[in-house]
């Protein structure tokens, strides 16, 4: 229960591509939809048609990054439970409701044991847990544990709802314990990184950094155009002469 398993069979998690995420919130809502209807209590919304505030297991931030030179950049940043190997949310739980599954490393809350003390949310550096006000229990990403093994779903659909719906393909699901898995390879290729590594939580989920932007700002642009400019087509008559010669070549 609140003791962490020494080792999990698999390390299921997400690789989230910050270079590709367009910030559309598709994953946020498909998560809300699936997890309202499925695992445990529905994700409730208080004052939904007024000053609304509800429970969400996945939210997208956006940040502005200002490099030393050049334009500021905007990065969309989806964030949900990282299913940490050294999950502090699990060990603080007084009832054993929070646990990390031995077989796949998914961190779950057994809602019928949860007293809603909130301490796990305090212990989580990532804001991955939200107390549902209607149910009084802690909710968190289940990595769609009721989808990924679900034999009532077609095989291709046995992925978390957020991954299935992501239009840009910015979310990848797989086993990080397997170095040959798509997510492991992607993370290795693209320099996948941990959030708040100094917190020592050893997150399973990895983030793939945005590629370098605005390279054309630094290029001296004449190169491809230069060889042709010798023909002096900057005037109309020059252009027509060039045109005539060029046409003669086919």
């Amino acid at each position: 229960m609140t003791a962490l398993p020494e080792k999990t069979g698999r390390k299921l998690g997400l690789a989230i591509d910050l270079d590709t995420c367009v910030g559309c919130h598709a994953c946020v809502i498909s998560c809300k939809g699936w997890n309202t209807e499925n695992y445990g209590a529905p994700l409730s919304d208080q004052d939904p048609y007024g000053d609304a505030s509800g429970t969400f297991l996945n939210r997208i931030h956006s940040y502005e990054v200002q490099p030393d030179f050049g334009s500021a950049q905007v990065v969309h940043f989806p964030k949900s439970c990282l299913h940490c190997e050294d999950a502090p949310c699990v060990t603080v739980c007084p009832t054993g409701a929070s646990y990390k599954r031995i077989e796949d490393g998914i961190v779950l809350v057994n809602e019928s044991d949860c007293i809603g003390c909130g301490l796990c949310a305090w212990a989580c550096p990532y804001g991955a847990r939200e107390l549902d006000l209607a149910e009084g229990v802690m909710k968190k990403c289940t990595l769609c544990v009721d989808r990924i093994y679900n034999e009532n779903l077609p095989e291709g659909d046995r992925v978390p709802a957020c991954v299935r719906t992501c239009p840009a393909g910015a979310r990848h699901f797989g086993d990080f314990a397997d170095p040959e898995s798509e997510v492991s390879k992607l993370s290795a290729e693209r320099g996948g990184f941990d959030l708040m590594p100094e917190q020592g939580t050893k997150p399973v989920n990895k983030y793939l950094p945005p590629r370098q932007k605005d390279l054309l700002d630094e290029i001296d642009a004449i190169d491809v155009l230069a060889p042709l400019l010798e023909i002096k087509k900057s005037r109309n008559s020059g252009f027509i002469k060039w045109l005539d010669r060029a046409l003669g070549k086919f």
Binding site: A3, D51, Y63, P88, G96, I115, A123, L131, P197, Q199
Partner: protein
């Protein structure tokens, strides 16, 4: 961190209650009969009242008993077990003292250890959290324990001990705050480590995920003005430590009369300090929301 009243009341009252129990357990004063009833009643009221208050912040208080199961890993679970054990031991102790005028010193010592253990466990709930750097220090249990036994001594009318403990507790509190002010500017976790985007440049929160509030913001993103904080610290030090100290020094002859009002003033001061304990604490998740 949001200064939730039920938790402030809990740590303040039960801290004082277990502090008083600690002294009673080691026989200071060695009370029996009606006197014992009065002391134990006060101590139980404070300790148990605090515990009851703490259940108000639970989403499912009816399942509170489940919290006793995870003593091997969870400080919250240990706190609960210690508290109940302490109350049980002191219950027997109190019954003996009140009804039969019998004191069993061994039971008292065990009770005192459990009382301190409870306060220690409470403090460790906070001190264990990497996510709240302000709390993550050995000084936090020291602070809680000193406040607890100093308050207990005050309420137990131990003039000399109080006069010695109060300045120490005040000093630890001051050091604790100074440390807090220092680390505020050298936190290891920043918006850059939170997002991992530091390599690309300076990071700023542009749009929050939702325009409205959410649980995380309500729970963690409390902000208190620096000026107000300084003022409140002075009030806390004055009420919790300075006034009681001078009351003892200046009116030693009337001490038995002053003990209870002084303890109340002290309690108010500790409550203010506890409010600040939460209100000034910054949870690292705030970095994701551009707050710190």
């Amino acid at each position: 961190m949001h200064p939730t009243p039920s938790i402030i009341i809990f740590t303040t009252l039960s801290g004082l209650g277990f502090g008083l129990l600690f002294w009673l357990g080691i026989g200071m004063p060695p009370v029996t009969g009606w006197e014992a009833f009065a002391y134990y009643f006060a101590a139980f009221a404070l300790a148990a009242g605090g515990l009851v208050s703490s259940t108000f912040h639970l989403g499912r208080p009816e399942r509170a008993l489940k919290a006793f199961t995870q003593w091997s890993t969870s400080w919250l679970s240990r706190e609960g077990i210690c508290a109940v054990a302490a109350l049980l031991v002191f219950g027997i102790n109190a019954a003996g003292a009140v009804f039969w005028n019998v004191r069993v010193p061994v039971l008292g010592y065990i009770g005192s250890v459990l009382a301190l253990g409870t306060v220690f466990a409470t403090s460790m709930i906070y001190a264990q959290l990497n996510t709240v750097p302000l709390w993550k220090t050995h000084l936090t249990p020291v602070l809680f324990l000193l406040a607890s036994i100093a308050g207990g001594a005050l309420l137990g009318a131990h003039a000399l001990i109080s006069a010695m403990l109060l300045p120490v507790a005040a000093l630890v509190q001051a050091i604790w705050w100074m440390r807090g002010d220092r680390i505020r500017n050298e936190m290891e976790t920043t918006i850059e480590t939170a997002t991992g985007l530091g390599n690309a440049g300076k990071v700023r929160s542009f749009e929050p995920p939702h325009t409205g509030a959410n649980y995380l913001l309500r729970e963690f993103a409390f902000e208190v003005g620096r000026k107000n904080a300084r003022r409140l610290r002075m009030i806390a030090l004055t009420l919790a430590y300075t006034l009681p100290f001078f009351a003892i020094i200046l009116a030693p002859d009337h001490w038995h009369v002053l003990a209870v009002p002084t303890a109340v003033v002290h309690l108010a001061g500790v409550a203010v300090a506890r409010w600040l304990f939460f209100a000034e604490a910054v949870h690292v998740v705030g970095h994701y929301y551009g707050r710190r």
